[in-house]
């Protein structure tokens, strides 16, 4: 549930434009770095991971909830913490055209899932180095990354919608009036004000962060467990069949081992 499946039209302009700006800056720096470090060859791997993310979504999961695999943490593990952003951006962009997610939120989406992938990568690297248990490391890393990114999502939605009543025009004006009143209120009018405000609160449309949080968590928890176990199984499989894909982690681990032995 880490995708911001928020459709277009909910988040305010400043927020999603900010998302685009941040991701744009990131990409410019990254593209420069890729060119400098002669890593252009990576585009092939990036695109295959984007294609993988898109296609694995259609794999039916035999659970009563409609759930689709994301593979964001796996993408992080395979591509590394920065290149994963490109794959994630690409898959988001392609998804927009099949009405799966909004076009305005691509920037934010890429940010959140990219951070998820990066966190997953670092968590996996750390855990695998320490424990040498492949399934455990992948599972925990994914679970951890998903929790963080869900909070990030909730935070973004909250930042964008806590003053939700600006949403439709009728409430827009009343809110304006309301704020004006609040700003000019003084001790004398306090009682009056409070009564009025309570009245207003009862009828005002307000984004309920608690309810959203619990909805996200109920759906989220199932998703986290599914995604984490799947990532665990996938990474274990890769480790058994083609360990050189996880080569970079193995190296790290070996160095750690030698260190331990020496100490």
């Amino acid at each position: 549930m880490s995708h911001i499946h928020i459709p277009d039209g909910i988040l305010p302009l400043w927020l999603w434009v900010l998302g685009y700006i941040l991701i744009g800056i990131f990409f410019i720096i990254e593209a420069f770095y890729i060119k400098k470090s002669q890593k252009q060859a990576k585009f092939s791997l990036i695109s295959i991971m984007a294609a993988l993310m898109l296609l694995t979504m259609s794999i039916p999961i035999p659970f009563p909830v409609p759930y689709h695999i994301n593979l964001s943490v796996l993408t992080g593990i395979i591509l590394g913490p920065t290149l994963a952003f490109f794959a994630i951006f690409t898959s988001n962009l392609l998804l927009v055209f099949i009405a799966h997610g909004g076009i305005t939120v691509i920037g934010l989406n890429t940010l959140v899932i990219g951070i998820e992938a990066s966190l997953g990568y670092y968590a996996f690297k750390f855990l695998y180095k320490k424990t040498d248990k492949i399934f455990f490391s992948a599972f925990t890393a994914t679970f951890f990354a998903l929790i963080i990114s869900t909070f990030l999502t909730i935070g973004i939605v909250y930042a964008g919608t806590h003053n939700f009543s600006t949403f439709s025009n009728s409430h827009c004006s009343s809110k304006g009036v309301h704020q004006e009143k609040l700003s000019v209120h003084n001790e004398k009018h306090l009682d009056n004000e409070q009564i009025e405000q309570q009245k207003h609160n009862k009828t005002e449309e307000k984004f309920n962060i608690k309810r959203f949080l619990s909805l996200m968590f109920i759906f989220g928890l199932i998703g986290w467990i599914l995604e984490s176990s799947l990532t665990g199984f996938i990474v274990s499989y890769i480790k058994r069949v083609k360990p050189d894909i996880l080569h970079k982690f193995e190296k790290e681990k070996d160095i750690e081992k030698i260190k331990n032995e020496n100490s």
Binding site: G9, I10, F233, I238
Partner: protein, 209 residues
């Protein structure tokens, strides 16, 4: 609906919408997007949506399929609407219309315009590496899609996965995806080898529009 099927309609369909220049279509989408984002009047939004439905009705593209695709974002819109205290009908309708306007126009676009055309139109203002990634992703999608189809068919023919043994089923799917990942990575390596042999010089490999 699968991307491969959508691409097929977009490529081989022959409706009047298929013939509209891509840039014009993207321009229209942009207008609809901006209107949907900034118009707050429910009736205006309703009219735009009705207009889009009308286009869908008479466009000659598969109506039901397109309609179904366009409904998908409603699931998430409703998740959001459930979280609003004292929700009123106008607000709900306002949001639903916004969402539907945008999703319907994208659904119509993707059934009448192939990804290649869209990418080409976009390639003018994207960095080199992004253009390569987009075109290569498109190509990779179709190469590895066959692999996935074969894998899923095999699992089905060999007994399928069962909801009653969740851990075993998850492990099976994990193995399947793991295999798919390995196979895909190998494919990407070979694709890059092929590119190199054909003289790829770290530039954009597709002609920009």
């Amino acid at each position: 609906m699968k991307i491969a099927d959508l691409d097929y309609y977009a490529t081989f369909g022959n409706t009047f919408l298929h013939k509209v220049p891509v840039k014009l279509k993207l321009f229209d989408i942009a207008i609809i997007l901006i209107s949907a984002l900034f118009i707050k009047n429910i009736y205006t939004l309703g009219v735009i949506y009705a207009f889009l439905l009308l286009i869908l009705m008479f466009s000659g593209i598969p109506r039901l399929k397109t309609f179904k695709i366009s409904l998908y974002p409603l699931i998430f819109a409703s998740l959001f609407l459930f979280s609003v205290n004292n929700l009123t009908l106008p607000t709900a309708l306002n949001l639903i219309f916004k969402v539907l306007c945008i999703s319907t126009s994208f659904a119509i676009l993707i059934l009448t315009t192939s990804y290649i055309q869209i990418f080409k139109a976009m390639s003018g203002f994207l960095p080199d590496i992004m253009v390569n990634i987009l075109f290569n992703t498109y190509r990779s999608l179709f190469i590895i899609n066959n692999t996935l189809d074969n894998l899923l068919t095999t699992v089905r023919l060999r007994g399928g996965v069962s909801i009653f043994r969740p851990v075993y089923s998850l492990k099976t799917i994990g193995n399947l995806v793991g295999f798919f990942v390995i196979k895909s990575i190998e494919t990407s390596e070979k694709m890059y080898e092929g590119l190199k042999l054909r003289g790829y010089s770290d530039k954009v490999f597709c002609s920009r529009d």
